[in-house]
Symmetry: C2
Subunit: 524 residues, 2 copies
């Protein structure tokens, strides 16, 4: 049941006077539940509980953390239809998507559970002493990853489950041993509360310390600002806009103690279509891309917003084909009137730039909050000269750039901002002839894709979901996959520490049987 | 031969009009060489060359990078006596220390050479495709660490070799595949130029691209500011004061594209002496600590500046013993008149705080630039209430805090800023009875030491030289050991990329024979 209250550790609380409601974009009306914004007192209480909980939680065994994470997954599944219906009513996204995203969320939680139950993720490294070394004895040193402390997580509007309350940031932080305080996304506060209640139930069932998790409501920025500025908060995770992520990064940088912010932000996800693919399979790629551009109403971080090709008869034909194909797809609803409004504004801004030509614009769209998909095209020269055209239009929109030649293509890629992904459509022989284009693209992105679409972010250890700024605030980390845990931990050394007082992961006898580096040799 | 010029890639250059000299603190006179500050044009040229060099350098094989790093080590050794004499004349440090630090520097370079020659450091992770998976096929994903781009390194005043021009930051960055631009430390500009010339010789001998290394002189802050603000610079390494490191962090955070700054900064390195050690071995520990406090004239990042104990007859006796022992040690020279001056100022500031009692002050010091070692003591209550007493006094000074009881000891540790190290003097049975004190200490430091001294930073994979802010700007990294390479790399994913176009580290046939994670299994 949705109460509209905040979870301050294990307690429901509604001390604030400000309230808000979520919105059903399909019916175009507010949902009925009333959500209470967290008060300053509630914020401080949540952080204080998290700090206290950290003292115990950071020493809890991998087995117990795994039980907690599995229990969260179980409790989320137990929410069953109430969760799915709330999700749909707060986003306009279809039931299939809700269930798919729930599956992804549960998979992530269980992946982290398995990771910490097994235990080798701590990167245990042991260098034993050499007492008779000259001129000085070598001490015994042992290193392990330990949690940073309380982490604040800001959920994403476009992924109410997989990148929000119990999403990747939260799962990774809890797995690391960091208590989590979620600043719930106001567009899906009901979904957020339900998931939060599942986490709290799981925490209670598995005897986790009170404060290991809190969920705070807010429709504005104040709660988030106070959380990021709180001295007891030690790291921040965020998924959303460049403006939002940069604001948090700036706040964190100005603290007396600056803290790490991992924000996964905007991206136009450039797609480079090389000539051969156009000759051989242009029409199929056009259809595939029309699908990728409109998938989830274009509301994916990895939506292909920029298509780059070299001018030719075939490329012109491809533009006509992708334009044709996209008009055959039925428009779908956006998450919220604000997002639909921003899409229209940003789209109009892009196509009002000089020499931009609209090649496809869905006109029969009469339903409120639904997005008209669009393809526009521009010459390489104009694109190079106008940075407005490099900016993301969040929604089912793609800009096709017609480059003069390979050199201009390379120049355009070199000038792009950092991106989550870059895609190349080609064949193995042809792509080998474009080393400069590929090198330029690699230097601008976190993930490079061959003959595919950027939408669809596989959850696996080899995934990088991140990239050079502004696609993320720190390209040295990923937001997806088990290695995303590295955002929330730091290495820690014990020197000459008594064996019986070391954590199990570092003891001589290796009681957990984990893989370790011992005196330069990997032992598994 | 010292020319006083900047190394702009492979060219010596002295276009600037501003010059400065280094200083011999023992003779108390300026050294003769004239050093030319880098001009804005030279700065831009160095960065531009580094950007160009990166295009080639980032794809160079591990074997070739190893040859380059070994050649740097060889060329540094070939500088022989000229390097040692210059080092001594610019620091006042003895020849033995110069040679020891050279050995450490060479060892670091060769360690990184071995690391990249072997190749497994890239953390290759492979998840192969499952084409018949439902509802969607699983793509082939392969992840590897790639270099960030040009790195600016600021050397330390107190380690002209091991933490400067060809020190740990530079060695790690070159090993990663990042070109390096060193902002040479003005106090040892001659030493810096000699080492830079060795790096350039090595680069030429091993056919590295011009611009893979540059060395810029400056006695002020302007050159450093311009380097950190340059859009083509992608990361910053720094060793020095909190003020300096924080200023660079703030500059980097304000860039249009914020970049990572790893600064290893100040630390008071708290030492907790528990009762049993005092009863059983107090006098020996007093002598050991008198030695550690004065080692290198107290000019180590890990110098023990704070000793914490619980009031007792034995602790009072220890204070008397360490005070007595420190007065028996002959004072030594500081690196520079400015550092000697700052030591005096900071020492006086500390001991002028209310209720601080000086228990040892070396008075017979008549030689200019030599440091009078000092021990002072204060009650736990005063220490808790006065944050001035928590600040580092860079030099042979230690503050002894007499705590009322275990609770006050824990409270003091909880309130300390982040530290590089924390030390516990005790025995295995006794320390197990102080879990809260140990937990508090662990949460404030990067390395915890049992029955030893914090001075002496072993170069090995299990070392953490870093810690919570302000001991470093990002506790998730270390400045020492092979894992310090992680500061300068980012993970990168290839999705469905043709096998023959993958880097060797990720090819199916594993031509380099490196250890990899393949479908969740570690294969070595």
């Amino acid at each position: 049941m949705i109460t509209g209250k905040n979870h301050i550790g294990n307690q429901l609380s509604a001390e604030g006077s400000k309230t808000f409601k979520t919105f059903d974009p399909i019916s175009n009306i507010e949902n009925s539940s009333i959500h209470y914004e967290a008060s300053q007192k509630e914020i401080n209480e949540a952080v204080s509980l998290a700090s206290d909980a950290f003292k115990e939680f950071r020493t809890i065994s991998g087995q117990r953390k795994a039980a907690f994470l599995h229990a969260i997954a179980d409790e989320i599944l137990a929410l069953d239809d109430e969760l799915i219906q709330t999700y749909c009513s707060e986003t306009g996204l279809p039931e299939g998507r809700a269930k798919g995203e729930r599956g992804r969320t549960v998979f992530q939680l269980r992946s982290f559970a398995d990771l910490v139950a097994e235990g080798s993720w701590v990167d245990a490294t042991i260098d034993t002493s050499i007492t008779d070394r000259t001129p000085a004895p070598k001490p015994d040193l042992r290193k392990i990853n330990i949690p940073l402390g309380p982490v604040v997580v800001f959920g994403a509007s476009n992924f109410p489950l997989a990148y929000s309350t119990a999403g990747g940031d939260t799962a990774a932080a809890l797995a690391a041993g960091c208590p989590v305080i979620v600043k719930s996304h106001p567009m899906h506060a009901g979904t957020g509360e339900l998931v939060a209640s599942a986490i709290i139930k799981a925490a209670e069932k598995t005897n986790m310390p009170n404060g290991v998790f809190s969920n705070l409501n807010s429709s504005g920025i104040e709660v988030g600002v106070q959380l990021v500025e709180h001295p007891a908060v030690k790291a921040v995770g965020f998924t959303g806009s460049i403006r939002g992520g940069r604001a948090l990064l700036d706040l964190a940088a100005k603290r007396e103690e600056p803290i790490p912010v991992f924000a996964e932000m905007g991206s136009v996800n450039p797609v480079v279509i090389l000539p051969k693919a156009l000759t051989e399979d242009g029409n199929n790629w056009a259809k595939t891309y029309a699908g990728s551009i409109t998938l989830g109403t274009g509301q994916f971080c990895t939506n292909p917003g920029l298509i780059l090709g070299i001018k030719s008869k075939e490329f012109s034909q491809f533009i006509a084909q992708v334009s044709d194909a996209i008009l055959k797809i039925k428009p779908s609803v956006m998450l919220h009137p604000n997002i639909a409004g921003a899409y229209e504004t940003n789209k109009q801004k892009a196509i009002s730039q000089s020499d931009v030509v609209v090649t496809a614009s869905f006109k029969d769209n009469t339903q409120t909050n639904f997005a008209s998909q669009m393809i526009a095209t521009v010459e390489g020269k104009e694109f190079l000269e106008n940075s407005t055209l490099h900016q993301e239009v969040f929604g089912p929109f793609s800009m096709v750039v017609q480059c003069e030649d390979e050199n201009q293509l390379e120049e355009i890629i070199l000038q792009l901002e950092g991106q989550l992904t870059g895609t190349v459509i080609s064949d193995e022989n042809e792509v080998a002839n474009y080393p400069k284009v590929i090198a330029a693209l690699q230097n601008r992105v976190g993930r490079i894709i061959f003959n595919g679409v950027p939408t669809g972010v596989e959850v696996c250890p080899s995934m990088v979901h991140g990239g050079p700024y502004p696609s993320s605030t720190d390209s040295r980390f990923t937001a997806v996959g088990i290695h995303s845990i590295k955002r929330w931990v730091r290495p820690f050394s014990y020197q000459d520490w008594p064996n019986n007082l070391l954590p199990d992961e570092l003891k001589n006898e290796n009681p957990l049987g984990i893989s370790r580096h011992e005196d330069g040799v990997y032992k598994s």
